[in-house]
């Protein structure tokens, strides 16, 4: 099986040759290649080269055309500061006052900010790995976009003080995510992960998620599927257990769960959804390969009967991670391989099969 087939099997709750392993390696690919984060997040070709190099080193099942959480807001007009060895951050927000929302235009992914560089990275990665390895793009979820456009506190206060205006901002943010995600699919990603840390129950209560965010996520995921996304992957870090049951309604096919969510809780919350997780990110910096290997094995055991699992970290593997720790997680999955000729390959089938439908490479971003 190649990586795509393996992920496809996990999505369908069929038995893959081994459990797919997706290390959430973003900036770590730059550090590994001796490139500054400052350059990595601004140069699509460099980003793609670093990702390919990391793929060759670790041999996992996905590469990421992903820069940071400020791509959307910069394209919409925010001014960023770019430290040399950290991800950029917003120095001046595109939307200092909500009254200016009507004057804000949706960015054009082919022209604005670093979006064209990200699309370039997506196209190169797809060209390099074809349909052997999953190429994952990234869009921020509507709530996270809104908070990146205004600043976290002003956006949250707006939600309470002027909910109708906040909803208009969320709709704008969802439109932005749809436009950017569609462009990424056209550029060559198999799917964009929807990264929505601000929707975590650590930040907003589940009722807020249900009322404000869920309808927009539903719209976003429907649009991404229509645009050719192979699957819908939602990534909300933190204690997400109370909102996991809403994921199927939003159209989520792959649900990330962070280290603070018990695997057993996640399994109960979304019994028919493929889960990915959940090794503690800091462990990749501070732990040992033996401990990572042990934790990976425990997760593989826990999902052995259920299936529908991608071994991963709970959130981004920090840029400063120890490479041997990342390798240990990948080895743990590879060491559990089975012969795919096993006659019981499909006996683990549960839930509704949800196969990946590959789309051809875009002619627009060859």
């Amino acid at each position: 099986m190649n990586s795509i087939e393996r992920v496809n099997a996990a999505l369908s709750f069929e038995k893959p040759d081994r459990v797919p392993v997706i290390a959430q390696v973003f900036g770590h690919a730059a550090v590994l290649a001796g490139v500054s984060l400052h350059d990595y997040v601004r140069d699509g070709e460099l980003l793609a080269r670093c990702q390919i190099r990391a793929l060759r080193r670790y041999d996992y099942d996905a590469v990421f055309a992903l820069m940071d959480t400020s791509v959307e807001t910069e394209a919409a007009g925010s001014i960023l500061t770019y430290p040399r060895d950290c991800y950029p951050y917003v120095a001046s927000f595109a939307l200092p006052e909500i009254s200016k929302l009507e004057g804000l235009s949706l960015p054009d992914p082919r022209k604005d900010g670093r979006m064209p560089e990200l699309l370039k990275a997506a196209a190169i990665l797809r060209r390099e790995v074809g349909d052997e390895v999953l190429v994952v793009g990234c869009v921020l979820g509507p709530l996270t976009v809104a908070m990146q456009l205004m600043g976290a506190e002003p956006a949250l206060y707006l939600a309470i003080d002027q909910p109708e205006r906040f909803e208009r901002l969320l709709d704008f943010s969802a439109d932005l995510a749809i436009r950017f995600g569609t462009a990424q699919l056209e550029a060559g990603v198999h799917l964009p992960v929807v990264f929505d840390p601000s929707a975590s129950p650590a930040v907003v209560p589940p009722s807020f998620f249900r009322e404000f965010e869920l309808p927009r996520l539903e719209r976003l995921f429907t649009a991404l599927k229509q645009a050719g996304a192979a699957a819908n992957w939602l990534h909300i870090a933190g204690p997400a257990t109370p909102i996991l049951p809403y994921y199927p309604r939003a159209g989520v096919d792959i649900a990330n769960f962070d280290y603070c969510v018990q695997a057993s809780e996640a399994q109960v919350a979304v019994p028919r959804t493929c889960l990915d997780g959940n090794i503690k990110p800091l462990s990749f910096v501070e732990s040992t390969p033996e401990a990572i290997s042990e934790e990976s094995s425990a997760l593989l055991d826990r999902f052995a009967c259920r299936g529908g699992f991608i071994l991963s970290s709970g959130c981004e593997i920090p840029p400063e991670a120890q490479p041997e720790n990342v390798a240990a997680m990948v080895s743990a999955a590879r060491g559990r391989g089975v012969n795919i000729a096993d006659s019981d390959r499909k006996t683990g089938k549960r839930g509704t099969p949800n196969p990946i439908h590959l789309r051809p490479l875009s002619a627009r971003y060859p």
């Binding site: 950290c86 951050y89 949250l156 309470i160 650590a202 907003v204 990110p281 400063e320």
Partner: protein, 211 residues
């Protein structure tokens, strides 16, 4: 007083201000409004916000209402005379996230700690100098990215060099709370803002000190 507590818990700043003003007009002292109103509301919020059921928004809203009431009761030129101690807080250099730190500030202020906020992206030398200058009982750092961990580990030694061994070191935030206190070389790692508050109340004995 019950109406003030309810308004604070609802995060309704306008109503909380109205109720606080009514209490003042009725002759209720500022200190009683703080202890029976503001602190009572925070205690209720504390009981509700367990590690499993803790979200920043709810506390932000209550915190905003609390800060509005405290500003009304104690204008900048006339600060509260008694506090439980001074706590210096900040986000270390390289980290620009401050939502959690700001919530912690509101919680501590509502519980009558004096908080000196060094802001975000703050060099640790500034944090230490501020702790020394302000006579802090504790220095608390918050971090959302793991890259700040090496700076946090330096704090203890740098504090010792300045004779500040008595100042307790605390850490919190999504990145730092993945590590143990021992690993960070601090005295306490808080899971939530209230967890941090409880620690401070333990080390200060919950007693007021003259400021």
């Amino acid at each position: 007083m019950d109406l003030l507590v309810k308004a604070l818990l609802d995060g309704d700043q306008a109503k909380a201000l109205v109720e606080a003003k009514k209490l003042r007009v009725a002759g209720v002292g500022c200190e009683r409004i703080v202890t029976d109103g503001v602190e009572a509301a925070m205690a209720e919020l504390d009981a509700k916000c367990t590690v499993e059921h803790f979200n920043l928004l709810e506390i932000m809203l209550a915190g905003r209402a609390v800060m509005g009431v405290l500003r009304e009761l104690y204008p900048p030129m006339d600060p509260p005379p008694v506090t439980k101690g001074t706590v210096v807080i900040g986000t270390p250099e390289g980290d620009v996230h401050d939502l959690g730190k700001n919530v912690f500030k509101a919680v501590l202020t509502a519980k009558r700690f004096r908080v000196v906020d060094c802001g975000k992206d703050c060099p640790i030398e500034t944090l230490i100098e501020t702790a020394e200058r302000e006579g802090a009982v504790a220095l608390s750092v918050s971090g959302l990215i793991t890259a700040v961990i090496p700076q946090v580990r330096l704090l203890r030694e740098r504090m010792r060099e300045r004779g500040l061994e008595h100042v307790r070191l605390m850490a919190g935030g999504a990145a730092l709370k993945q590590a143990s206190a021992e690993s960070l070389n601090v005295d306490f790692v808080a899971d939530t803002a209230f967890d941090g508050l409880h620690y401070l109340e333990r080390i200060t004995g919950g007693n007021d000190e003259q400021h």
